[in-house]
Symmetry: D3
Subunit: 251 residues, 6 copies
């Protein structure tokens, strides 16, 4: 992340391998067991972790907990207003898809046995969208989840000694814009990208999810490899930022 | 509002006729034509005004504009999580009712002729709820609307000389708690109130909406009068705060 | 109601403070525990009270009963046909709002402890609409409710000695039309009213609900006071008519 | 219908081939182009005919009109309350099926060319149900349709000389109860019937629809023939009653 | 079916009283308890019988089983594509009506006592539609049901000695095309038919359901009789084909 | 694909890098512009391509065509029956996600300019599911699309000389089962896989979509590389099979 002589290529002055400014504001909500306002540049997502005792019916008696997520966007999060999904009476495909992705990503680092028969629901509401909302949501949701788990241990709902979170998890977008692989795309780059990839990686560097899409131009193995390198660089940095944010103790 | 010797009656240390701390953060969203994060104590509502040219089909050719509102609450705005209305597939009665109230309240001060065939949609999303979400929404939405109208004049969509807003509008809750009429109820008072009233008043002191409800004990005319007095005191103060917030020019 | 020399002001020949002809036809349905066809002039609402043992899940074990209401309008109740809400697949905001209002109004006079763990659902279906459908619905629903409670006592579901209804309840609309406050507005006045208010009052004269709206012109305190006076005059008269209607014993 | 010595077989004292008391109250609604409250004993259906100029998009330019129907039941039309379809958010299969049947039955006697590009919607709302609601609805809807067509001719929307209705149409239920074929079944017979048949017949005696169902015991050709004989006897009588009801001129 | 010198009247070369080629492919699905791909000429319906232990809540403890059906059509089963009902979010009236018809038809030959508290759901999905989809569905569903019942006896879920199916059941369409009664109408005849009738008949020749509709021209008793004769001829032949198809033992 | 001495590892006798038997039955539907029943072992998907002139409103006047897809599963495609999405009234997240994936995959090889303002909808209905339904759907849908494009050229809707399809596209699943990377997973392997990946590749070997998920154990870069190698081997083989299937000319 220190390629000295690289020409400044991007509209916002960043180097290709540079993240936007990332901020975590923990404890944004007074009553949620965990809550974080996460910002990736202009993208702002409010992640609330609701911890409840008990699990859905199909999981009862298993001794295992459950972690799930719901993603949504406020109507004016985007530059032009979209209709509310509650008004339309149905959730769109994109919303469903991202909610499922966030849930899977978090479950990959949760020891459901250690969690016990408890449920954590992560609500990720995009207040302002400037690209990378799903990756910001995953990255912020992990921090909210960590706070909710800490809350559960403090209050004794989960025995203090247990390791519920086996690892941390973060996500970032990468893409090829005008032939150059770039990290953490804002909206203006996102719409021009030939290839778009979202990568979810654990704190220890293992892949949880790799989703690469080439609606415009199919990509080759070399490009795929370069994008994966860039992504891992980004999630490494995000893992450090998450760790720093959580270092302060209870919010 | 300076009754020196009054016994401090309320849990949060306020006098019966005192508002919670009210804050308006204008320009909270980068791209909305008007946006305000309004706070009444712990209640936080993000109000976004979306200004678009054109009107709904049934109003075309009338030469008049349209102002409408949608109210919603994030699932974890409250102390326990509620299901999303988008997931349930239908909007609840309370949501509908409040959305309609906000729209009517704003239209009461808008000169739709002066607005011309343009539409402003006010999205009021409750990020955190601690009582009085509808009154905070109306009060904040007016500020967002004022910014959107100013934007329309700056950009020439509406001729600069026109007076689109005939007056300002604000709202506050009042109620009788343990026999005492109180102003601007937080959640803990709201649930204990025998009578609950929401009052919407213009900057010049005229009523736009009066909604008083007594699910527990019907109230008499004297109580009604005292509540109305208290409410008008509150909305006067809110009108001044709105005016100060808007004094800074464009956000 | 005895202003002798007042000029006849209204299209249908009524004085400003005069109700339309009000009729209650009890026992309109053969099998409902209580049922009333209520008419306020051309407005006709069929109110059916369904009494069932047991309460909704969230109220079980409380020892308290539950009273709720559903309001709806037949498609051709109005002068032009409206789409059915069942066909559109969702209930509109106005329908929800009125259903909730009717329920709250009735609960204000019900002693839920005395009712015991029983539920009464009031279905108020507007067969013909000529203004004031919600106030007619509340006024008629009270009579149907009284019949259902009497049925429950006759059949022993509720012990005969208990006072389930602490008071009666009735509702009326008032409004300012061409500068004059008028009582019980038919449709032609309703659409021209500058201010529109619905007031729900108990038999003993206490307010249950006050809903005043000024979409066109905000109103001042003096107008509000005059409207309240007029409304109370109307609900007093309605309370007497309810009482007379119920004097006949079982329908 | 004059079998003198026949043993009185039915619970309500009717002979097997006797209709219940049938009543048509025309002009039940003030503003509908045609409206009839039809009663077959305790079954009461409000039939409203809404005449509008123009046809659905798929029929535009054809020179032909359209006639359609919607059937529904109030929640307390039956002896125990049913949920509203508007609240459930979807129309049940039975409702759909009957709406379609009524529409088809009426279209069978309408000359859509003579109707011109106009639409008539028949709303058939069951206020009280005691068996045979769909047959009462068809029989009443025809009368409401006739009134709406007369209205259209009076007002000149349809040229006065045209014959829009080629014939009348009526419907009746027949069934086998305890081995005996009976006409026009009330609810208590309906639930015990081994075979249930609804027959729609024109004034001139031709079949429009024959729907026979044997959920319990399949039936043979002889039984089918006897049921058809009985049905035609009933619809003949209904056609005469319709004709008498319409003889009075405009309602 | 042996009218030697009859003029070949129909577009596909069939005599008026001739069925299209009928084929049953049993065991089309690997895991369903019973499954048949039934073909009536170009009409192809996949019928799957799902046998599960237990009954719906309202039938629990009755000792009786339950048989129900769901009919649906793939979007491109027809010559032009239709929207999916899942995408539209609601099931159309026609779909509901046919699902209910199939369920009733099968229940007419099932001894629910002998079935015990078990449920069989018949899914009839039209893969290609060329007229007569509902009659093919009933005819095929019976074969799938027979296989599911045989499976239940083989596996001991239902005691081997019991007679669950009291009879077989099949269905066919008949209609009057250009004045001639014809059997088993393909799409091209169906759209031109003056009268359309679907008849469901047991293997022993009793009627389960008779549904005759005359949207264009009402029909008289003589026509009705000829259509019924033709239909019974068709269902007799179908009953034999069902029996031959089932003669092979387990699929 | 001919590693002679490899130990036979899989339940169905396949080598790790071996596809199941793949079959394309073109022209399965009589009237669709393109249709294929594709089978990957026990997985059977009916792919129907509906070609219509014109494009959705938002694309009008662009000179470009549109290709989209809808995926669905019959209720008894799986070993236990699932509820229909049409009956539930909403489409699940998984269905949405796969429909979108199929659409994107096909658009990646379509020259929408060459297609002109025409639309092709690909309906992929899973008749029987044994793992890999989405990859079979993509692979089959390409063949149906190719047939629909050929139809459009034959009939002159698209000028014969244009190259609408720039390449072919196929998809396959790969996963790690018991530590071994395997190709084209049937259901029994799918549920046991630690990592599951779906890869969509063009005929010339470029990636269109890479979706790797590790709900159980995050995977490292080396595993990812091995899975990608295996996938490309599989899609190469599928591209050849598609090409052979299409070699026969019109179905």
């Amino acid at each position: 992340m220190t390629t000295p002589a690289a020409p400044t290529l991007r509209a916002d002055g960043r180097r290709p391998d540079e993240l936007r400014e990332v901020r975590f504001t923990r404890g944004w909500l007074d009553s949620a067991e965990g809550s974080v306002l996460v910002e990736f540049g202009g993208t702002r997502v409010l992640c609330a972790a609701s911890f409840t005792e008990g699990v859905p019916r199909w999981r009862k008696g298993s001794g295992e907990g459950w972690v799930t997520a719901e993603y949504a966007m406020l109507p004016r999060a985007t530059s032009t207003r979209s209709d509310r999904e509650s008004v339309r009476g149905r959730i769109g495909g994109r919303t469903h898809e991202i909610s499922r992705l966030i849930g899977r990503s978090l479950r990959a680092v949760v020891d459901v046995k250690a969690l016990g028969e408890n449920t954590v629901v992560l609500d990720c509401d995009v207040l302002q969208a400037d690209g990378g909302t799903r990756t910001a949501a995953i990255t912020g949701a992990y921090v909210a989840l960590a706070d909710a788990v800490a809350w559960a241990k403090r209050t004794g709902v989960v025995p203090a000694g247990r390791t519920v979170l086996r690892d941390s998890v973060a996500a970032v977008s990468v893409g090829i814009v005008d032939g150059t692989p770039v990290l953490d795309l804002p909206y203006v780059e996102d719409v021009r990208a030939e290839t778009d990839m979202n990568v979810v990686v654990t704190g220890s560097g293992a892949f949880v999810e790799v989703q690469g899409t080439a609606e415009q131009t199919p990509f080759d193995r070399a490009e795929l490899d370069r994008l994966l390198d860039l992504a891992v660089q980004g999630t490494d940095r995000l893992a450090r930022l998450q760790s720093e944010a959580l270092a302060d103790g209870a919010p």
